[in-house]
Amino acid sequence: MLIAQNITKKFGGVTALNKVNMELHPGMVNAIIGENGAGKSTLMKVLSGVYVDYEGAIVYNNEPLKLAGTKDAEAKGIVIIHQELNLVPGLSITENIFLGRERCNAMGILDKKEMARETRTLLEKVKLDAEPGQLVGSLKVGQQQLVEIAKALHTKANVIIMDEPTSAISDKEVDNLFVIINELRSEGKTIVYISHKLKELFTIADRFVVMRDGCSIESGLMADMTQDDLIRKMTGRAVSGTANHTTQTFTEPALRVENISLKGASRVKANVLTDISFTLHKGEIVGLYGLMGAGRTELMETLFGLHPKRASGNIFVNEKAVQIQSPIQAINQGIALVPEDRKAHGLILDQKIKTNISITVLNQLEKWGIVLRNKKETELSKEYIQQLGIKTHSENNVAGNLSGGNQQKIVLAKWLATHPGILLLDEPTRGIDINARFEIYNLMKKLAASGMAILLVSSELPEILTASHRVLVMAEGRLTANIPIAEATESYILKHAIQHNITA
C-alpha cells in the first residue's frame, strides 16, 4: 500500500498541496478526482519522484519512502504515465521500451534479438498488435499509450499512475485500455487513475479520493457514491465567488457562430469541436468554462482563424456572414485574441514594451505609407501604459522583465489598440497576482460597458461567476450548457462540464 501523509508542496508563496493524506490500495484502481488546479498532478509528481522537495512523508509497504528522482521511483516500482506521452517517435517500440536499460551481450553489443523477444511478450500482454521494430511515431496515440504501459510493465512496476489516459483516444481504445487495467488489477498492482470523466470512473475505479484546493477532502469506495455526490464534494469550496447578479439584457449580437466544428489534427483523431453554436452580444461578458481538454482554447483559435483547413461552420460578425481564415481576417473583423500562454504566443519578451504594444497597429503609425512615426508610437504606448496601469518606468523597458500581471496588460494593450468589437480572453488571469487580477476584471467591466463583446475562457469557476453575465459550458468539444448568471452555481456548471449527454 502506498500512503501519503501530510504532504505539503509549495511553489514560491503558492501552496499547491496542503497536508494531503491518502491511501492507495494494491489490487485496486484508485481514482483521484478534482477540478482543474485541485492539486492532482502535483501530488502525482510528488509520488513519482518528479518533485523531491516537499513536506510530509510517503509510506510504501509499511516502510518510509524518500525518492531521489524519477529513476529512483522507477527502481522502486512506481511509474507515472503522463498525459503527454514520453516516447521518442523516431525510435522503434523495442528501443523505446529499453531506452536507458539496453540489453547487451557478453561482447558489449546490443542484444537486439533478446530485446525484440521480450518486447513481443510485453506487446502481447498489453494487446498491442504491432511489430517490436515498428517506429513509435507511426502508431496512433492509443497505441503509443499501450507502449508506455508495456514500458511500465517491463520495469516491473507495482504502482502505475495514469494521468488522463483517455483524453486523446477513441472509445474502442478506451475499452481495450480498461481490459488491460482490469488484468493489472487482478495481478495485484496498484493503479492510480486521474480523469475528469466521471462516467468512466464508475466503470473502472474501485476507490476514489476527492481533492479540492490542494487538500484531500474525502476518500472511499466508488460503489457508495453517485455522480452528484462526487460533484458536490469536488465543488464545496469554502469561499465561493460572488456572482455577478445582473438584470441587464443584451440584445444586439456582436458575434454569432453556427455549427462550428474542428477536425482532429491527424486523420485518426476524433473531432476536437463538434457543432458549436452561440451568440455573443455587444456589452456582454460571456464566461466559457470547461475542464482541461474540453476544447475551449481550440474554439478561440478557430474563431481567430488559426485552423482554416480543419474548421467548418458559419461565423457572423454584427449579423454579417464573414470568412475568417487567418488572424489577419479576424483582426479586420474587429476580433482580438489574448492567448492562453502569453509568453509563447502573446509577447516578444526580448523587445520593448513599446514595440510589443504597437505591433498590431503599425500600419496606422506610418507616414507616406512607409516611415514609422516614432513619436506617435511612443504616445500610443504611453497612453496604454497609463490607461491599464502597467507598472514601468519607461515604455522602452524590455517586456520580459515585467511581472506576469504587467505582461498580461501589455498583451491586452496591444489588442485594445486595434479597437476590437469582440475580445476573446483565454485564461487572462492565469499566474498573475490578486491585485492585477481585479484590475483586469474591472477593465473587462469597463470595456463591456463601452459596448465591447467579451468571451472569457477560464478554468476557475469563481472567476467565471464573478466576471460573467452569462456562462457557456463545454465538454469534450461540445457546448453542453448556456446558463444565465442568476441560475449559475458552481456545482451546476461543473455538472455540465463533466457529464456530457451524447444525444444532445
Partner: protein, 325 residues
C-alpha cells in the same frame, strides 16, 4: 532599472567590438608600416564592400531566425549573367533571335535574377516548410550548376571600361563599391529601424507564434527578406565581376560563410530577433581588416584561415559571456 541595465549591455557589446577593432588596427599598424596608408584603407574598404552587401541581406534573414547558404552561388551566377548579357546578349540561333543589352539592362537583368532566386528560396521555405538551412543548401548547388551552364565553365572576360567602373572607379574621391555598400547599409538601417517591414522581421525572429497571432503575414515577410538577400548577392556579384573585369564560374565560393561570420561577430543572434545592421558592418570590417593585416604581415594563407576561425570563435564566446551577465 533592470531594463536600463540590459540596454547598457547591448551598447557594451557594440563597444566591445569597437575596442576589438581598435586593438586589431593598432597591432597591425605597429607591425606593418603599410597598414595606415590611404591607399591601403581604400583597398580594405573596397574589398569589404562585397561582403557588406551580402552580409546585410544575411542579417535580415538571420533576424527572422533563418539562414541563407546560397548567396555565394547566387553571386557567381548573377555576376556571370550580367557579364554575359552585357558582352554577348542573348543569342538563339535556332530561332534566329538576338537580344542585345545596354549596360544598365544587363545590370538590372542580373539583379532581377538574383531576387528571383532569393524569392524561390523563400517560396520553398514558406510553402513547403523546408528548413532554411536545407532549402538554401539546395540552392547553393543549383545556382552553382546554373553558373557552369551559363558560362560553359569558362570565364567571361573583357567586359569594357564602363562596366569596370563599378568595381574599380572613383566618385568624389571615394571608390564606387564603397558608395554602393554605403547606400545598401543606409537603406537596410532605414528598413530595420524605421519601417513596418523591419519591425515584422524582428517580431518573426523574436517570437514567430506571437507574430502570427498579431496578424503579421509571416510568409510574405520571409519572401521579401529572401528576395532582398538574393538581390544583394547579385549586387555583390556585379561588383566582383567588374573589379576582375571577368565573371569567374567559381566566384563567390565560401562567401556565404564570410557573411555569416560577419553577422555573428556583429552580435546578431542566430536564433533570430536580436541584432543590427550596424553590428554586421562592424563584423565585416573586423574580418576585412584582419584579412588585410594578415596579408600585409606575410602570414601564410594556411595560417590566415586558422587565425580567422579563432577570431570568430573568440568574438562569439565574448558575446555569450556578455549575454549571461
Amino acid at each position: 532599472m533592470i531594463a536600463i541595465q540590459r540596454n547598457n549591455t547591448i551598447n557594451l557589446a557594440r563597444l566591445q567590438s569597437v575596442i576589438a577593432l581598435v586593438v586589431l588596427c593598432t597591432i597591425i599598424a605597429i607591425l606593418s608600416d603599410k597598414f595606415l596608408t590611404m591607399d591601403n584603407g581604400w583597398n580594405v574598404l573596397r574589398q569589404i564592400a562585397v561582403n557588406i552587401c551580402i552580409s546585410v541581406g544575411m542579417t535580415l534573414i538571420v533576424l527572422t531566425a533563418g539562414i541563407d547558404l546560397s548567396v555565394g552561388s547566387i553571386l557567381a551566377l548573377c555576376g556571370a549573367i550580367t557579364a554575359g548579357l552585357s558582352k554577348n546578349g542573348i543569342k538563339l540561333p535556332s530561332a534566329d533571335l538576338f537580344i542585345g543589352f545596354t549596360l544598365l539592362g544587363a545590370l538590372l537583368g542580373g539583379i532581377i535574377v538574383g531576387s528571383l532566386l532569393g524569392w524561390f528560396n523563400g517560396f520553398v521555405i514558406t510553402k513547403f516548410k523546408v528548413p532554411p538551412f536545407v532549402g538554401t543548401l539546395a540552392m547553393l548547388t543549383i545556382a552553382r550548376g546554373l553558373t557552369m551552364l551559363w558560362t560553359q565553365g569558362h570565364p567571361i572576360s573583357n567586359l569594357g571600361a564602363p562596366f569596370a567602373t563599378i568595381g574599380t572607379g572613383w566618385l568624389l574621391g571615394i571608390p564606387v563599391p564603397v558608395w554602393i555598400a554605403g547606400v545598401v547599409v543606409l537603406l537596410a538601417i532605414f528598413i530595420t529601424r524605421q519601417t513596418r517591414l523591419g519591425r515584422y522581421i524582428y517580431a518573426i525572429g523574436g517570437n514567430e507564434n506571437a507574430a502570427i497571432l498579431s496578424g503579421i503575414n509571416i510568409n510574405k515577410v520571409k519572401l521579401i527578406v529572401y528576395s532582398i538577400a538574393g538581390a544583394l548577392a547579385a549586387v555583390g556579384g556585379i561588383m566582383v565581376t567588374s573589379r576582375l573585369d571577368s565573371a569567374q564560374p567559381n566566384a563567390g565560393t565560401g562567401y556565404e560563410l564570410d557573411a555569416i561570420a560577419a553577422v555573428v561577430i556583429g552580435g546578431t543572434s542566430l536564433s533570430g530577433g536580436k541584432g543590427s545592421i550596424g553590428g554586421t558592418v562592424m563584423g565585416a570590417v573586423i574580418i576585412g581588416v584582419l584579412n588585410n593585416g594578415l596579408v600585409l604581415l606575410n602570414v601564410s594563407p594556411f595560417w590566415q584561415q586558422v587565425v580567422k576561425g579563432a577570431v570568430i570563435l573568440i568574438a562569439v564566446i565574448i558575446d555569450k559571456g556578455g549575454n549571461k551577465k
